[in-house]
């Protein structure tokens, strides 16, 4: 798994999470621009998943194979779920759900990198 790609995902997700905080601080609501931003982060996540699958197929495989697969399956679902839960109620604090989702993506990407580095 590419460390650069993980860094890109973490960076984009961190920016998006920061944006959510700024949105809450300025008392704005989640709009189309946020969804575009989330889509950009999601594309990076998908690239990471493809990279991870390629690593699993081509080897060397991580020791924690089952866990690694679970990370690849869950990773692309986090942002859509967060977006859904945020949009279901456009209140001020509800925007912070995006921050939770973005932080989760950062943790998942970083842990995935750690998992994929320990190979047989």
């Amino acid at each position: 798994m590419s460390g650069t790609l993980v860094a890109v995902v973490c960076g984009l997700a961190a920016v998006m999470g920061g944006w959510a905080v700024v949105t809450v601080a300025r008392d704005r609501r989640v709009g189309r621009a946020h969804l575009v931003g989330l889509a950009v982060v999601e594309l990076a996540v998908l690239a990471l998943v493809v990279d991870g699958v390629a690593t699993l197929v081509g080897g060397p495989r991580p020791v924690e194979l089952a866990t690694s697969i679970a990370y690849l399956v869950v990773a692309p679902l986090v942002l859509p779920a967060g977006a859904f839960w945020t949009l279901a109620e456009r209140s001020r604090p509800s925007t912070l759900v995006l921050l939770v989702a973005c932080l989760a993506v950062v943790v998942i990407a970083y842990r995935a990198l750690e998992l994929f580095q320990v190979t047989r």
Partner: protein
């Protein structure tokens, strides 16, 4: 979203953030426990059974906080209380008797492996539930 009747207030505001946090931990704990139990249950049955139990408690808390109705509220109360007791008990035991917990669970060392969020989460949950029940009594 349902109409806000007595005892059936929808989860709003910070409650939604709490639900999101709980959902993350529900997924993390359940997946972790599934992998542990499926691949190496014999190594640390107690720790892995506890992992699974913690996962179920998180799922129940997520649903209890997200759904409306007094039954779900009670479920959320129960889940958050069990969770707080669990993280304190397992946290203490894992430090006192490390051999009983050779592989860590979400609750080991008070959730240190997860940035102590497992310790903070039930407290936030209980505070949120308390403020909710106070609001409905005032209304």
């Amino acid at each position: 979203m349902s109409a806000a009747g007595p005892g059936a207030r929808r989860t709003s505001g910070l409650g939604r953030v709490l639900v999101a946090l709980y959902a993350v931990f529900a997924v993390a704990a359940v997946s972790r426990a599934s992998v542990q139990i499926a691949t190496r249950f014999g190594e640390a049955p107690l720790a892995y059974a506890l992992s699974a139990f913690a996962g179920l408690v998180y799922v129940l808390a997520t649903l209890g906080l997200a759904r409306t109705g007094s039954g779900w509220r009670r479920a959320a109360w129960a889940a958050c209380t069990v969770e707080l007791l669990g993280v304190l008990t397992v946290g203490t035991l894992s430090l006192a008797d490390a051999r009983a917990f050779p592989d860590s669970t979400v609750w080991s060392a008070y959730g240190r492996g997860y940035g102590f969020v497992p310790l903070v989460l039930p407290v936030l949950g209980l505070v949120y539930l308390r403020s909710g029940s106070r609001r409905s009594r005032a209304a």
